[in-house]
């Protein structure tokens, strides 16, 4: 009896220690983000002298400086326009294509499906040179359309939709077709509303991906007024000299929308990631 109670106590102490270790690891993991936020809240002259974990007198002066002295608001607008457009087009296109491949039979269906699976393997970063040439030829460099077009390649969303539609019972379709519904009504009135969760999840992850993309917007928008915020904050860094608070305030603002999107829709982001990796979450 006494043996079991000591061993149980040992397990409980172990469990508490393990939980404490987990908490410490989580804090350390989060520290870089915390430190960036804290530094951005200090007065400029304090960033290289004050290393306290909390600023004595927090200030938004770095933020005000960045907003007034850079194109940050303009970049924000550019990022919003391009990311939202990419999200809408990508998800709508993927839903239509996934639906057609899953529910309809037409010549070329198999070929299309294999092309999509194949394109999944292709590194888009190998195509940057030719994307640049194509976009330059149609004079779309430094334009929203030029930033958006090459970023509409998201084969994985089509794959997720196809698999989702495959999993729905056939009877729905047959009954609705008997009632004289068109394919568009079927897709938008019946199939998609059956589970908006999948669409929401895919939209959020597509938005985060579009907002975060670096290499293509970096190449497509060299003109400072057309940059996205993720590219812009690195382009002007040298202009601020050693004013780390200012650089960091731009970074905090650039990361804010995606961080919020994740924190508000944590479950959906998890779902989207496990779906796109092909695991049932």
């Amino acid at each position: 009896m006494s043996v079991t109670s000591t061993s149980r106590r040992r397990i409980e102490t172990g469990a508490v220690l393990l939980t404490a270790l987990t908490a410490i690891c989580a804090l350390l993991w989060f520290f870089p983000i915390y430190w960036a936020i804290i530094t951005s809240l200090r007065f400029d002259q304090d960033t290289v002298t004050d290393f306290a974990l909390f600023p004595k007198s927090p200030t938004l002066s770095a933020y005000i400086f960045t907003i007034e002295n850079s194109n940050l608001l303009r970049w924000y607008f550019n990022s919003t326009v391009t990311s939202v457009t990419i999200t809408i087009i990508t998800v709508a296109m993927a839903a239509c294509t996934g639906y057609a491949i899953s529910q309809l039979s037409f010549p070329g269906r198999k070929l299309l499906w294999w092309t999509i699976l194949a394109s999944f393997m292709v590194p888009v970063s190998a195509l940057i040179v030719n994307h640049f040439i194509i976009i330059a030829q149609i004079k779309l460099l430094n334009s929203y359309a030029g930033i958006i077009l090459p970023m509409l390649l998201h084969p994985v969303t089509v794959i997720v939709y196809k698999q989702f539609f495959d999993g729905l019972p056939r009877e729905f379709r047959e009954a609705a077709v008997m009632d004289g519904a068109t394919e568009f009504q079927l897709l938008f009135r019946i199939f998609l509303p059956m589970n908006w969760g999948v669409t929401t999840a895919l939209a959020i992850i597509t938005f985060i991906g579009a907002w975060n993309s670096f290499l293509w917007p970096f190449l497509a928008a060299q003109d400072e007024t057309m940059m996205t915020v993720t590219v812009g904050i690195t382009a002007v860094q040298d202009a601020y000299g050693v004013a780390y608070g200012r650089v960091l305030s731009g970074a905090v603002l650039a990361g804010l929308p995606v961080a919020l999107a994740y924190l508000l829709f944590q479950r959906r982001v998890t779902q989207a990631i496990t779906l796109s990796a092909g695991i049932k979450g």
């Binding site: 393990l18 430190w35 590194p123 670096f214 590219v231 904050i233 690195t234």
Partner: protein, 283 residues
Amino acid sequence: MVAYILVAPFILIYGWMFIYPTIQMVQMSFTKSPLIGAGEWVGLKNYIRMFKDPTFYKSVVNTSYFVLLTVVPGTLVALGIALMVRRLNGWVQSVVLAAFFLPYVLPISVVYVIWDWLTNKQFGMLQGLIIPFTGESVNIWRTVPWFMPGVAVITIWWTNGFSILLFLAGLRNIPQELYEAAALDGATRRQMLTRITLPLLWPITVLCLTIQLILQMKIFDQVYLFAMGGRTQATMVMVQYIYEQAFQKNAGGYAATLAVALFVVVVVFSILQFQILRMRGQR
């Protein structure tokens, strides 16, 4: 008929932004052309040049080194974190998971600014961890031996959330009865971990490793940003070399050749991944 209307936008975009550039890339790799404009046909000359090009080999070696530093270590760290997070419940689990996952949703340029500040030679907090070992503060991004390991640590910090989520999904899919049965047989916690959890997580581990492998071979952003303003030759990676040849040296033809090389390498590894996944599916 309706089917074609539904797939038309997709086919248009894919033809225009995927198939056409791929064909153009291959065709361009046989020419000596600037970035914009036609060039003369030179046959295999670019490929011969590539196989004799020390910078190309350097970029392959650096990319492989980076893959080595990130893929297996990153997956192990993710597994460890997933096992720790798994034990927690309710809101505590959500908060802890959010702390580990948040870096994954940040743009690379934000990650770069955050870590550039943390590692700053004069004022960076992390120099406090470095000085005890070296005796002095180190300019990590201008010191070649420090550069790749530094980028690797940051990359693991940044991309690990993805693998953590996959491992957590895998842990949830292990039937609870297995642990109950093992407990009845008097198995210890360590035995449960090594005999049940880890073997059943193996398929997910393989999945994480292959996804990471293919992702990290395409490394560019971090290396470019941290090397910005300094000499890039010593830390050149494959995508960066394509970028340099195309956009700084205006050598479109040779850049296309390098892109074909990257293309082939990634596709070969992707086919391997696909085969592994298919084998898993059949079992």
